[in-house]
């Protein structure tokens, strides 16, 4: 989900010894291994193989086609694993992993503004598939055992790595906003609060807060605006949930993945405004990635 490769390079922070991209790739790998060994979440290794191959081959081909060289494939690796974890198709079909993998990577090359891509690749692919094919896919049918120990491991590693990558403030801002806004929503609707804030403890939100909303390539540049955007994502998500509470006839995608859709709506707008404000210009042809 976190796009650690480069179509353009805003402010990707570095730690002293370890490239943050490796930390992020390591964390998603840890999540995959733990979830599979303990809960068999993959649902068939062919899904993992297809998603990884689609993402990496697409990245290699498109980067060569557009830039004349093959870029670092870590981003594609992360997208492939994320799609494997999140996508659950009807039956044993593999086409969602093929289309999802292609859409995730291709979105970086097609949906650009001032030389930057606007959507987190996995967020775009998941949102697009949920909107286009809700009868054939669902997201994260597994809950990883609803187990507090597993949750804690991923949260601890995730928070440590988010701090190392210097996006912890985004994660925390979103989590606090989610808790406050949905508590308020529950109160206004006279609903019990616990079920409304419960989803934040689930694995889908772990993937969301550690790999999607904090994507260094698609977040805005300034720290204070990053906080504002995180709040806005939570606000839009709460609005979607409110609409679902009221039974408004939303597309299934909004009921199923309100966080994904909120980020897919808010993220690109914020990024585009940020690029406009900063006066970013399209990267010169052939300028190499800086990370």
């Amino acid at each position: 989900m976190t796009d650690a490769s480069a179509v353009s390079q805003p402010t990707l922070p570095r730690t002293k010894s370890i490239d943050p991209r490796y930390l992020i790739a390591g964390l998603i790998t840890l999540v995959l291994v733990v979830a599979q060994l303990r809960y068999h979440v993959v649902g068939g290794y062919e899904r993992l193989a297809v998603a990884l191959l689609t993402c990496t081959i697409t990245e290699a081909l498109l980067s060569w086609f557009v830039r004349g060289r093959v870029v670092n494939l870590q981003s594609a690796y992360i997208s492939g694993i994320s799609l494997t974890l999140l996508l659950k198709p009807q039956g044993a079909t593999l086409w969602p992993f093929v289309l999802g993998g292609f859409l995730a990577i291709a979105s970086k090359y097609v949906l650009q503004y001032r030389g930057n891509h606007l959507w987190n690749p996995t967020n775009f692919a998941i949102s697009a598939l949920l909107l286009a094919a809700p009868n054939r896919i669902s997201v994260l049918s597994h809950q990883w055992g609803n187990d507090v120990a597993t949750n804690l491991v991923i949260w601890i590693f995730g928070l440590v790595i988010a701090a190392r990558v210097r996006v912890l403030h985004i994660t925390l801002t979103y989590v606090v906003s989610f808790l406050l806004l949905n508590s308020l929503r529950a109160t206004l609707l006279h609903q019990p609060i616990l079920p409304e804030i419960a989803p934040i403890t689930g694995p889908m939100y772990q993937l969301f807060v550690f790999f999607m909303i904090t994507d260094p390539r698609t977040i805005v540049r300034e720290r204070r605006w990053q906080v504002v955007v995180a709040v806005l994502v939570a606000v839009v998500e709460t609005a979607i949930r409110f609409a679902s509470d009221q039974g408004w006839p939303l597309p299934t995608a909004f009921n199923v993945g309100p966080a994904f859709l909120a980020l897919a709506i808010v993220g690109p707008i914020a990024k585009a405004i940020d690029l406009t404000r900063s006066g970013a210009t399209p990267r010169r042809a052939g300028s190499p990635a800086t990370s």
Partner: protein, 593 residues
Amino acid sequence: MPAKPAPKHQGLRRLLIAVPFVGAIVAAIRMDSAPSRATTDVTHPGFALRDETAAAGIHFVHHRPTFDPKIANIEPHVAGLGASVSVADFDGDGWPDLYFTNSRFGEPNALYRNRGDGTFEDVAASAGLADLNRPGEGVSMGSVWGDFDNDGREDVLVYRYGYLALFKNVDGKHFQDVTEAAGLHRWVNSNGAIWLDYDRDGLLDLYVTAYFRDDVDLWHLSTTRIMHNSFEFATNGGKNLMFHNLGNGKFEDVTDKLGVGSTRWTLAAAAADLNEDGWPDLYLANDYGPEELYINDHGKRFTLQTPGLESESKSGMAVALGDVFNRGHLDVFVTNISEKGYLFQNNNLRVNELTDAGQRRFHNVADPVVADAGWAWGAQFGDLNNDGNNELFVVNGFISDDPKTNYWYSMSKIAGANARLFEDAKTWPAFGHASLSGFEPSRVYLNRGLSGWADVAKTVGVTDLADGRAVAFADLSNRGALDVIVANQNQPAILYRNRPDSTNHWIELSLTGTRSNRSAIGAEVVLETSGFKQRRVVDGGMGFASQNDRRLHFGLGHTEWVDRIVIHWPSGEQQILANPAVDRIHAVTEPKS
């Protein structure tokens, strides 16, 4: 080293990429709307099912239970089970009869005696099998029939959210409650039970599955922490129980001795000799957990094995056994939950390769057609068109209430929570009058062999949208056609009368054990004729809360002869019938020596 110059016309190149990019989105939209339920290419499935419930005189309506007001917020969910149907010729007149259970205090169960003329009469009250839903005793969740005392008359065990109840068939008309004397007066919040002879001593033993813990009295709750501790790997359900039939009218709890006391919220069990070593094995469908296969070690102990079952945890609702590809082995179908957008657990169609030296495992071959049957419950295999291949009938739908209010959104919130939260029933969002996978059409899957399955429900006349729970097959008119009986939750039962293609042939076997149990439960029959070999088992309960006709039905297509039939009796005796006549029911008694 200087950077390699980028290719020219990057904008144009990106534009070129946009073509397949848009194409991928269009492809996803097209895949979404493409018919996964292949209904259009099978216009002549070779049989028709007609709802003849009223004409048959069946007017049974299931009523769901009401529980302690402390869990009123999710009562529709907790009270969502209990509609069952089982088939047995209780009066020994050669016509299969039907027993439906009810689940509300004061509402009677129904025992429909088959008059043999296409109609039925409810004799439950006179038989003593009606008034079984009483405060302090519990409410019925289902029943299984078997001749536990080998007196030639089918007895019945009623499992409840409450005390088990065993009734001895006294004279083919009246039943006597022998629960206490049998040592079965146990409070078990059960949704399933099966008869089997696990030690092959000629006496039917009993395996009872448990759902809620046995210290839970749903009408007098001391705590609301009664729910599962995981949506996927829950282990805090009631403990399944195995009772050994001692032969003197008494049963002994041998659960721990045999190692079959799963606490995984088992909803259904089926028994058959799946590895074909001569001993009946146990296959469990567990709600909120993975399926479990207990391999029988010579009647001494069962060992839990996971040959090919470990890939995913789901919400098993029913187990049906049938020979899917006419290979002479019993394959396994387990129903699960699918809801578009929210959850695709997918049903499992597991091809049995346990006897294949190179495999020794099950292989899941469920394509999207059979994988997604909605919130699927009961299922059965049977040759509905008599063409020699097993069809698959799946009933579904959980709660049909207000069609405009969907609980799935609420479910998606609670399902992602930590277990400590949803283990407590009172923290669940209130159901109100919401539907949850309601109004789903049953699936009738036509078996097209290697060409896959096609849902022909509408074509053959199955159009009801009731909340199906149990489904059973029986040749109710002794005419070589499998009729379909469906028990619906909180709704009327349905009898679908089957009219298969009259040009196809069939053969049926009515087995009576001598050294084996008289009901011949557990007997496996392999029919061999030119072109195929098919295995069936006499079940002591199969599907979900259901039991089929004890007689075994084989369709033969246009084949007018059978080479031979091999009967594997539970005792270990093997009997061969050479060239039996087709288009008739054969009564076969086990050789005594």
